[in-house]
Symmetry: D2
Subunit: 339 residues, 4 copies
């Protein structure tokens, strides 16, 4: 039984982490943190967890947390994470960081997109990118795993098979991404009020969404040539779920069957990617760690669809997948199997 | 053509007022206020109004607004309203106040429920309560009309016929009220975030919701004897609409037909109350100034149902109805008829 | 490992049963039925289950199913169930029946409310009512368990502590129940179309909803005196969840604290009932087998709130709870614990 | 005052037509049809219209309707419309056809996409396409107007300025269209049940949606060269609204400001198209006849956004706009102005 901590326990990703860990046979959550001084009981912060944990959220230093835990999930905002992670590692625990701080390998790219100088730049190039479908062999032995962004992993999982096989052009890939509102976090803002989002669909962050360089970096690694995407996120009136509709150009004409077969073959050993001839719907992956994948030819335009639950496969589920790999466990433990 | 002003133009009630007034043949909106200093254009505050008004929201004093307008809708928060209203009246305009500040006739009751001493107490007893279905004869000649609360008017319209006829007991009336989220206003709060409200139903303010004394005051006036209700508001995952399911005790057994007939007769001259044998649905009154009404006998328990759009009949629509009466116009002008 | 079958695998309750059983360490689903002739693969019927089961839905007789399985969940419509259940039992398996056919102990009451003569009347009086919080000692040794209705169990769990203690009047209890749309099933109907239900709240079945006699029967058993309720179901624009707001009359004044303490004591050994001073929200119990419970005093009117997920604690979760008891397992197995 | 009829009064487009016509100063609805034999009262078919019309829906022949009316809105399904329209015209009335039957000028294209031989092919080439922003000069004198599809007009209005100016390539235009569920009509189907659509986003009809040839035909007319699009519709969990995110390739680099200016200039005389630097949201056009338009450059990829209410600007609002033009009235009458 490993001792687990969560830095920043009041948000939605922490909530989903805790729901998964409540069922996990090899993980015992021992430590939760918040910046609030009054040490609220977890069931007051997240009433849905009442009866599952008898824990308080404490205002603890990263060192204290690191000493108490074997694995720490860092669910702090970006910039806060790069302060805490070195302290956690120094204290001797291993870390899955859910922020964006360790995802980009180049500190200059980080500074460009996040508007902050990175204070822990030397660690960037050696941090493992925590998308197990692509990098599982590097994750097991790591001390620090950078958990991917939700749009990022959904986009990457859809495009990787076709870029790796070299059947699509690596540039000019249009990604039309549609996300539920929980992706915007739990901090009260006008734009995420119910009466603003409900019965509405809109786009945002066109050209400047921070998942863009992350998608391009990982996909460039996958295919060994620079990948360039036009990433276009949209906000949907639903709690959770991401559907990416992606429009790459085929280098040569191919049939839908051949494209599906290529994707199936690419993911044949991956328990959490489901390739199907049916177009995915976010409802079918909600509350699961699955990524559903399909393709269509719209005349000669290839369309790749991928769907995830942004809070699970897009955040907390893949984080537990990474934890399992860190601990040498089956990556599905606690999510599909329970032995 | 009357000159219209709105104090506090950035909220949902102001938005709905403006949508109605855009179509009104006898009202010209001339003045809008906000506490923001940068005088934002209305179409930046409410993008849905682009092309309908070419106005800015200005940081103006109530006196200035009063001098520029014939009628002012005061859409300020409570306590702010009781400061502005005397100044508006002194400046010579007539006022429809959408806050709670002038609804309760007894300043002591106000203080008990709102936790503030009323600073304009002498005006309370002479202010007209702006529910035209009950008080239209007093509204036309008033200078100040207190626009009812959304739960209040929905509850009152449902119960008034039966209390006035003396067929139900005036005490122990259970009101189970269900409202859309827009009723909570446009200020960002955790509890009204999309990802908190969506896919959830809950109750709040049991025993201390401020619409309670307002319902009791008006219904007591209607039937000439003290009325006592247990008012229980619930939050629904939808933008707008209120359904009140009300459980009074019949003094004598009556048939559904007789009860419906009693309600139809009570509202026979009222263009905005629709009595039907069908149970109302909030969708059928959404974006309208109608209140739909029906009854059921559940064995010997009477159930009265009333439904409104909380932003229209519950706020901005009834406010225009009141404006029409102040101006000596047909009360339906701009909402049902246009001549 | 027990062999599990589901009769009627295409609906929402079967879908939720399968999601739970996919995680259950002691249950292996072997048999699924449908009336469709083409034996569709489960992942075509329920795409969300792809990768979890490799099973087809077959058009099998109850006898065949009974012979292949240790436990069968019967998720057929009422009247179809009373034909299948005797055959299942004769074939030697044990049955959790999710229809209404075996819930009422009096065949005359069944005929009155369901409009059909019961064809298996002699079995009614001996069938165990599958609400483990009240009847767990009878469930373990049963061959047939009548799984409760969703509104029923939510209402009963809220009222039982207070009726058992004799602190509320057993008659005239108003139940204002609010349910998500999945409760209406998966058969296409005008009234459950998205564009009809969304952004709408309404009531239905006032005075004739079939969960009424079930609530009264069980609660009368609980307190040993006839209980009479006015049950008023409402339809909410959400997928899942029930909130019951219940208005019984206290026999004597009591404090909220004493009422809560009474409920806590009543459920002290029940892992799936959470009594709290906070008003429950359906979101906090969604996708769980919990029933959340609280009380409020609205002046002198007691309000009891109970919330469940209508598809889990209201149907498929409690069915697995019953299965665990039939198998002599911990009732939380597969839902809270996995050992 | 013109006498107005609606063929097929039970669907959502008829409902929205009636809501608009209820406020129209020059139109009197006299005749409504249904295939139901019992002549239901309109308020039973559409409870939201109670109190606005005292009309029944009758099973009348097109000839009878044509003789009673000056203008008939034909809201029948495709193929039914091409049978009724000739009879309506022969009876002497003018027709706005909301079906797809008269939108495509080539009967062969119709047969290819709709799978039916057109029975009134000679009329196709002379029918006016009822998109007033492009064809208002032809509409006024027409007897038959083919009202555009909802996706169609939203897509066309967004792309037309740029194709007409020749600044984008006319082929390979990716349209990612997102629609509310009301676009799928009011006939009960599994796929449009609340519990299937809610909390879900998916795509459908990729490569075979029937609005494709309509978009291509009209845009080819606009720019005088064949236009080819990849049209990709998606279903959103909301009642109404369409957002089209469109990805054409610029022939030469241009700035966002120049692109916006081009669109503003193209629509300078159009009261219902609002060009803005803000990305449109469907909520801002809901329940209005506006089409909101904006552009973004995502690095060098142009993105054009257009948003409408699919039931208003996408169907019933533009139909009234067409009626106004047929009657020689201001096209905004009854929708923006009332004089």
């Amino acid at each position: 039984m490993s001792r687990i901590g969560i830095l920043g326990a009041t948000g939605y990703t922490a909530l989903e982490l805790l729901k998964i860990l409540a069922r996990h046979p090899q993980a015992e959550v021992t430590t939760l943190t918040t910046r609030q001084e009054n040490s609220p009981h977890l069931s007051d912060v997240h009433p849905s967890l009442a009866g599952l944990f008898d824990l308080r959220c404490e205002n603890l230093s990263p060192e204290d947390v690191g000493r108490r835990c074997d694995i720490v999930f860092c669910a702090l905002p970006h910039t806060a994470s790069m302060e805490a992670v070195p302290q956690l590692l120094d204290a001797g625990c291993r870390v899955v960081d859910l922020s964006a701080d360790y995802r980009l390998s180049d500190p200059g790219v980080y500074e460009t997109w996040y508007g902050h100088v990175h204070t822990d730049p030397t660690r960037l190039s050696s941090t493992v990118y925590g998308l197990p479908e692509l990098f599982s062999d590097q994750i097991g032995s790591a001390d620090l795993v950078a958990n991917p962004g939700c749009y990022t992993s959904t986009s990457i999982l859809g495009l990787a098979p076709f870029l790796a096989a070299g059947v699509i052009e690596p540039n000019g890939i249009v990604i039309d991404a549609k996300s539920g509102v929980s992706g915007a976090g739990r901090k009260p803002k006008l734009g995420t009020l119910f009466a603003e989002c409900n019965e509405s669909v809109t786009a945002y962050g066109i050209g400047n969404h921070r998942h863009t360089p992350e998608i391009e970096q990982v996909l460039s690694d996958v295919c060994g040539t620079p990948v360039q995407v036009a990433f276009n996120p949209h906000l949907m009136p639903m709690d959770r779920g991401i559907l990416c509709s992606m429009y790459p150009r085929l280098k040569q004409p191919m049939s839908e069957d051949d494209l599906l077969e290529l994707a199936r073959s690419f993911y044949q050993d991956q328990p959490f990617v489901r390739v199907s001839s049916q177009i995915p719907a976010t409802k079918n992956v909600a509350h699961t760690n699955f990524c559903d994948l399909s393709v269509r030819l719209n005349r000669d335009q290839l369309v790749v669809f991928s769907a995830t639950d942004n809070l699970i496969k897009g955040a907390s589920g893949v984080a537990v997948q990474n934890m399992n790999l860190l601990l040498g466990l089956d990556q599905t433990l606690g999510m599909l199997s329970f032995v």
